[in-house]
């Protein structure tokens, strides 16, 4: 039993890292093809990771290291709470609310680490990250609440199972508005364009990452990869019915990702206040309507 659990954990963690990195590579490739370029190989993120690990790195203090580890730990643990096509290692430990809270750890860790770096670009980046998070959380919370209210549970596994019984949430009438809202905030959750102002290399020298080199950058990239995976996985699990097995789940993940990738490739960046305003206007409105619909229909 324990061995199965350990195996599950290892499998999910590694696979999600791989998937995340693969998605980053895919993203670069897709962007290049849309730009009429040849583009890097799909393995480029892995090459980068290997390179970073072979480099020296400069640390600004204990918290600079610890924050980074803390951040990646947070992301890895979130992954353990998400069903991966029927596999969910920590299913009985708190459900969506715990996931929401664990999702805090990653940005908090990076923020602490970047703060210790004492670099103004990093601070600006962190500030933007927190503000952007605040922007999309408004909608995300309402969306998740409408789901939890609809299914009367806080457990994500239960929600997935309920969808297997009754079909995808996205196509069920009370939840479709929420689903649309989720689609709108998805790029912000994954940190891709048009909500890429956190890093904005041309503007604030890649923001929180400004002082990261070597293995720190490797960790940050892994964290970013996991972040993309988590955002997509939440969407797939909550609205696209999860997956009965890992393969099916991954296909859904991939398809969902490619939709957003197209947007990423062609869109410019918002300024932070434009982004927040945009996020607070349309997705929030939709999510609010969705929540009201769910509340009315279920009470």
């Amino acid at each position: 039993m324990v061995i199965v659990l350990v195996l599950q954990i290892l499998f999910v963690t590694l696979l999600s890292c791989l998937v995340g990195l693969f998605l980053i590579g895919l993203s670069r490739k897709m962007t290049a093809r849309i730009h009429w370029r040849y583009g890097p190989p799909l393995s480029q993120p892995f090459i980068d990771i290997v390179k970073w690990f072979s480099q020296t790195a400069v640390s600004h203090g204990k918290l600079f290291d610890a924050g980074m580890i803390f951040s990646l730990t947070g992301s890895v643990v979130v992954v353990l709470f998400l069903p991966f096509g029927g596999i969910c290692p920590l299913r009985g430990s708190g459900g969506l609310l715990v996931i929401l809270y664990l999702m805090l750890i990653a940005p908090l860790g990076i923020a602490l680490s970047a703060g210790e770096a004492a670099n103004p670009y990093a601070s600006i980046g962190v500030s933007r990250k927190l503000q952007l998070a605040f922007g999309y959380e408004l909608s995300l919370l309402m969306i998740l609440l409408s789901l939890m209210t609809y299914y009367r549970t806080v457990s994500i596994v239960d929600i997935v199972e309920a969808q297997i019984q009754s079909g995808w949430s996205l196509v069920q009438l009370p939840l479709v508005v929420s689903g649309l809202a989720y689609l709108l905030i998805m790029p912000a959750i994954m940190g891709i364009r048009p909500f890429e102002m956190i890093q904005a290399p041309q503007e604030i020298s890649s923001g929180p990452m400004a002082e990261y080199g070597g293995k720190f950058l490797a960790f940050a990239t892994l964290q970013h990869a996991l972040n993309i995976y988590i955002g997509l996985s939440l969407f797939v699990n909550l609205f696209l019915g999860g997956g009965s097995n890992a393969g099916y789940f991954l296909i859904k993940l991939l398809l969902a990702f490619m939709v957003f990738q197209v947007i990423h490739a062609v869109w410019p960046r918002f300024r932070i206040e434009q982004a927040v305003r945009c996020l607070w206007r349309w997705p929030a409105l939709l999510a609010f309507i969705g929540l009201i619909i769910v509340w009315v229909t279920t009470s």
Partner: protein, 618 residues
């Protein structure tokens, strides 16, 4: 320990401390700590006990009754422990200031009267201790002079107003039921009409709401918390405002039974919904106002207001899970908020009173223990898993979601995200970023400050991993209120619709952290860089001019700031001005001209006679 002896120890101890201070300062400090240690031990020894004792048989023909039960026990213990930490913290902190005997006396008096409040078994002794707490708090808030005077004024005026309203409610209960002892009131209140009950509840809600800083009644809190001396701020924020929470629980669950409370009045417009609405507003507005603050203690003060909203939400919702959440949040908030005020106090102490976030920075290098404590406190405040704030907030959210109140849950969750923003601002501005040159010679916090901070940080983490410990006591008190207790174990809570299991989360996070740390060690060893060895577009970093924390969330705050006027505060200020103007106008009737005065006398006579002629009153 007998309850009377306990009270005698704390009250007598506080007086003795004052007198001893005239002889020896050091002995006074030790005595103060010993008194609270004795109180802590005494309260701890009362665990699980339920008993009553008569303090005095006839005060205006009312008996003064003391009683202990699990619910009072957890409050009393928290008060004693946080009070103890604050007093230890004062050891160095207060040394620089004048009037130290007075400070210790009032500090112990506040703590003693709070213990008195939670142990009181009837409304009269409750009120007496309540008022002693009010005025001693007033004196302590004003202790720092200058701006503190206005803060103290705001506090005491609101406090007096609140307690008068409570007095009216209490006497009204007496006329209705013929007794002031809690059990007697509960017994005799069954026959009361629902309109009367709502009237009473609203009266008491005003009184408790002022102490607990519910939204339109919160205005005293931010200035008071920020201007009080820091050890007292931690008492103020950690436990004093929770006395309001205590009152709420006592009233709703102990006196008016919760079944009665939930079903009271109109389906939509009733006191419960009013309280829930105010709780939601209390979470939402102060959270965002805290974002705008640049004063560390004021930021924490607004955060306290916001957190009080969670407790109100939990208490007013009226399920056993929500009550557990609210009470647990009280307990947790007492720990982490007093911890945070101590952290800010330590920084303030070392930097000679700098609280302005924009002029601090980089202190992690100088005060690492303080930083760690601050980080843990902030994590608790946000509710990062493995710290105690998480479980209590989870309970509140869960009960709101499962019982079909998504909008309240939304407000509560959104408040948490606002909390992240201002918490990070606090930590970042004080401890992270560039260390200004003037602070390069800064010392770490003295031991007397580190000890309580470390203790409280440990408590925050321990109760975060083992929420079963406080929840067990809360369950006992819920049984005392005649409610269904929660299904708990040492590591978490089991409900039909979602479980929380801190064991798994803790293991996952710890193991994950260790594995990733090992993985991190696999990479090439890194070198340490100075804060000036930093990327600045290739240029060398100009020392002391590389500050960047001003207007940290400006894009966001400039958007929301116009909607965040503290209208309640403006209203009260206008009211005070209005009363002053009316007073100034009215006293013009004393013109100084004796002819007018004679005219008043004759007019009075004439009016009295006119009354008789017109209405025939005789």
């Amino acid at each position: 320990m007998k309850l009377e002896i306990l009270l005698a120890v704390v009250f007598g101890g506080s007086l003795l401390t004052y007198l001893l201070g005239k002889i020896s300062k050091r002995a006074r400090d030790i005595l103060a700590i010993l008194v609270l240690l004795a109180a802590t031990a005494g309260i701890a020894s009362l665990y699980g006990r339920s008993s009553t004792a008569i303090l005095c048989t006839g005060f205006l023909d009312f008996p003064l009754v003391l009683r202990i039960h699990p619910f009072a026990w957890i409050f009393a213990l928290t008060i004693a422990v946080v009070g103890l930490c604050a007093v230890i913290f004062s050891w160095h902190y207060i040394r620089k200031k004048g009037r130290t005997d007075f400070f210790y006396f009032m500090m112990l008096l506040v703590i003693s009267s709070m213990i008195g409040i939670v142990l009181s078994g009837d409304f009269l002794s409750f009120y007496i201790f309540w008022e002693i707490m009010s005025w001693s708090t007033f004196l302590l808030i004003s202790y720092n002079r200058e701006e503190a005077i206005a803060a103290g004024m705001k506090y005491i005026v609101m406090s007096v107003a609140g307690s008068l309203v409570m007095l009216v409610g209490m006497i009204s209960l007496y006329t209705q039921t013929g007794t002031l002892v809690f059990e007697g009131i509960t017994r005799n209140l069954n026959s009361a009409s629902s309109g009367y009950l709502q009237f009473i509840l609203i009266l008491f809600f005003v009184a408790f709401g002022i102490k607990n800083a519910i939204w339109p009644l919160h205005v005293w809190l931010p200035p008071a918390h920020s201007e009080a001396p820091s050890p007292f701020s931690s008492v103020l924020s950690g436990i004093l405002i929770k006395i309001g929470t205590f009152g709420f629980i006592l009233l709703i669950y102990g006196i008016v039974q919760v079944q009665v409370f939930v079903n009271l009045g109109h389906a939509l417009f009733n006191v419960r919904n009013l309280l829930l609405l105010l709780g939601a507003v209390t979470i939402l507005l102060p959270t965002f106002i805290a974002l705008l603050q640049d004063d560390a203690k004021r930021l924490l003060a607004w955060s306290t207001v916001a957190q009080a909203g969670y407790m109100i939400l939990g208490i007013a919702y009226g399920t056993s899970e929500s009550l557990s959440g609210g009470t647990l949040h009280f307990f947790n908030h007492a720990l982490f908020k007093s911890l945070l005020f101590m952290v800010v106090g330590a920084v303030e102490f070392r930097t000679n009173g700098v609280r302005d976030l924009n002029s601090l920075g980089g202190l992690i290098k100088k005060m690492p223990v303080t930083f760690a404590a601050g980080l843990i406190g902030v994590c608790g405040l946000i509710g990062v898993p493995l710290t105690n704030g998480f479980v209590s907030k989870w309970l509140i959210y869960h009960t709101l979601i499962v019982n079909h109140s998504p909008f309240l849950a939304f407000v509560a969750l959104l408040g948490t995200w606002g909390t992240i923003l201002y918490s990070y601002k606090l930590i970042h501005h004080i401890f992270l970023g560039q260390l200004p040159r003037k602070y390069e010679q800064l010392n770490a916090a003295p031991v007397s400050m580190k000890v309580p901070m470390i203790f409280l940080s440990l408590a925050v983490v321990v109760f975060g991993v083992l929420p079963g410990l406080p929840l067990h006591v809360i369950n006992l008190s819920e049984i005392g209120f005649g409610m269904e207790p929660l299904a708990i174990n040492m590591w978490g809570v089991v409900t039909g619709s979602g479980t929380i299991q801190m064991l798994n989360i803790a293991t996952a996070l710890t193991l994950g952290g260790i594995v990733l740390w090992l993985f991190f060690r696999m990479g090439r060893k890194n070198t340490r860089a100075d804060q000036l060895d930093n990327y600045a577009a290739g240029a060398p970093v100009p020392a002391d001019r590389y500050q960047y924390s001003v207007k940290f969330y400006d894009p966001l705050t400039s958007m929301i700031a116009p909607y965040l006027k503290d209208t309640a505060d403006n209203f009260y200020s206008a009211l005070a001005r209005g009363i002053r103007n009316v007073g100034n106008g009215i006293r013009r009737i004393y013109t100084g001209d004796v002819g007018n005065y004679v005219m008043y006398i004759i007019l009075f006579l004439a009016i009295l006679i006119f009354i008789q002629l017109y209405w025939k009153v005789w």
